[in-house]
Subunit: 313 residues, 2 copies
């Protein structure tokens, strides 16, 4: 994993490209080869994992390690574990019984890609394969994370608990369920924030925290990273809500107005566009404020935050 020293002024594109390549190489080495028996499951695990994801969670994880004076190599298993969890959640989210999406990033979703054959009993195989591929990716995340070591301030147990709690029924899955239940009825602002916190902030926050933990960060640094991850995640989601209203599908690169159609509560629907923009701006400021204590070491993290939030909203 050859990573070039980044020079000031910070070259975000170079950072993203080199880290995506490094993460892909690491993921490839952690997962069983595609032809490992049974071939179907290993092909189906790799298909969504290497479908062109932007690797934003691994990127912030690695950047957080650097911000705390750690080595990216130490954070790599955790960056990969987080990406596996993100990918599994997308695969299951796209299934017919959930969001029933046929396309993601312009490619067929996993259950569509593996749909071609039905078994002797006439059941569609694509859904079963996607279900099991998601299960396998979730399991793989814990296997990969288990490869990490302990640090003076953070035990192996701390790391595993951080990951399991984030992916579990009080965080990531809670967000999915609340989102599902929120459709078709008007949620209030508190409920909406509850969903955003869990669906988006939780895993982003976990990514930067794990990066920091792999650098044996101080409690104060961990708190700052938590604030950064939390606020970036929330701001990102509020901006998404705004763009769903204001942008055309073409500019958005996905179906606009989808939230309104699904009768989902959004920030603009609840408090109007102007106030929503104010909330997004405030959350963004909070996020960057949290990075102050890290000084120049947080240059990558800051650039990633800017990349995520500096959209035309």
């Amino acid at each position: 994993m050859a990573i070039r020293r980044t020079l000031h002024p910070f070259d975000l594109q170079e950072f993203l490209e080199s880290r995506t390549a490094a993460v892909n190489t690491a993921l490839d080495s952690y997962l069983p080869p595609a032809k490992t028996k049974p071939g179907t499951i290993h092909a189906a695990m790799r298909y969504p994992l290497f479908a062109g994801g932007k690797r934003m969670r691994p990127a912030v994880c690695l950047a957080a390690a650097t911000a705390c004076g750690g080595k990216e190599a130490e954070a790599m298993p955790l960056a990969c574990a987080v990406e596996c969890i993100h990918t599994y959640s997308l695969v299951h989210d796209d299934l017919p019984c959930m969001d029933d999406d046929d396309l993601r990033r312009g490619k067929p979703t996993t259950h569509v890609q593996f749909r071609p054959s039905v078994d002797a009993a006439g059941r569609k195989r694509g859904e079963a394969v996607a279900l099991l591929a998601g299960d396998a990716l979730l399991t793989q995340a814990f296997e990969i994370a288990a490869h990490c070591r302990s640090w003076p301030r953070y035990s192996h147990q701390d790391i595993m608990l951080e990951l399991a709690r984030t992916a579990g029924s009080l965080q990531l899955i809670a967000g999915q369920v609340a989102d599902l239940e929120g459709e078709g009825r008007k949620a209030n602002l508190k409920e909406l924030r509850y969903i955003h916190e869990r669906k988006t902030s939780a895993l982003l926050c976990c990514s930067v925290r794990l990066g920091g933990m792999s650098a044996n960060c101080t409690p104060a640094q961990l708190k700052a990273l938590t604030d950064f991850g939390y606020n970036v995640g929330l701001a990102f989601q509020v901006i998404d809500d705004i763009l769903d209203v204001t942008q055309s599908s073409e500019k958005l690169g996905k179906t606009a107005g989808k939230d309104i159609k699904a009768q989902k509560s959004t920030y603009p629907a609840l408090i109007g566009l102007k106030k929503s923009r104010g909330v997004a701006k405030r959350l963004t400021q909070e996020a960057f404020k949290a990075l102050k204590p890290f000084g120049k070491r947080a240059v990558a993290l800051e650039a990633l935050g800017t990349f995520l939030l500096n959209r035309d909203y």
Copy 2:
């Protein structure tokens, strides 16, 4: 957790009842209360977990700890983790895109139980809830297991890797996929054993191994426990194949002849009833032979093996 000292002759019924109660208490304490927000997911996690499962995997895990001179309390988180993995696999296995089963242990399966409402978009909610409940139980398994400590011979990492590898794409999920793909075409004996090893033996084997590891067992003891778990698991599955052919549905407590109907390859279909009985007998003998070195400490493990295999086949 008050556990009575077991006296010779061994009272298996008392052992099973007291351990089931202890495991249920522990599981109840590990899982978020049913009313924890979002209530749907926590109710849906608890529903299949407390639906009357026999707790055989936790039982062999605890008994293996005792066989190696350890304490059941040390093995308890691992026993509970294994049961969560077993339960998640059943919940996902019952889904319409997999085996499409409406009943398990005489009760509605999770997606049927949570079916009543559809959301605004007209999607059935039961399947989504069952999917997420399975995901949450799998995640919960790793959170519970992460509570365990390290032992001189087995690190926290060893424990987590054992669990993740067993549940992953080379073992448990490989078994599901191979089983799915095997339907509708004639598998040979090697392929059938591949499926049985992964669908049944793997998690049983992992249960006894984790029990042993929690007792800081010697490498020789771990090898013996592995042999026991592997052979009991395989024998159990071969006997199941035999009973599916020879027994009536009434006596079996489930639909007989299901394997034939699904065009699944079975031992009797491949090598006939007589030879299948020979295989089951040989595997059973291997299993009990493995327990010899443990002497009287393995009394519970031996009784559990007898309970699992001593069926009228």
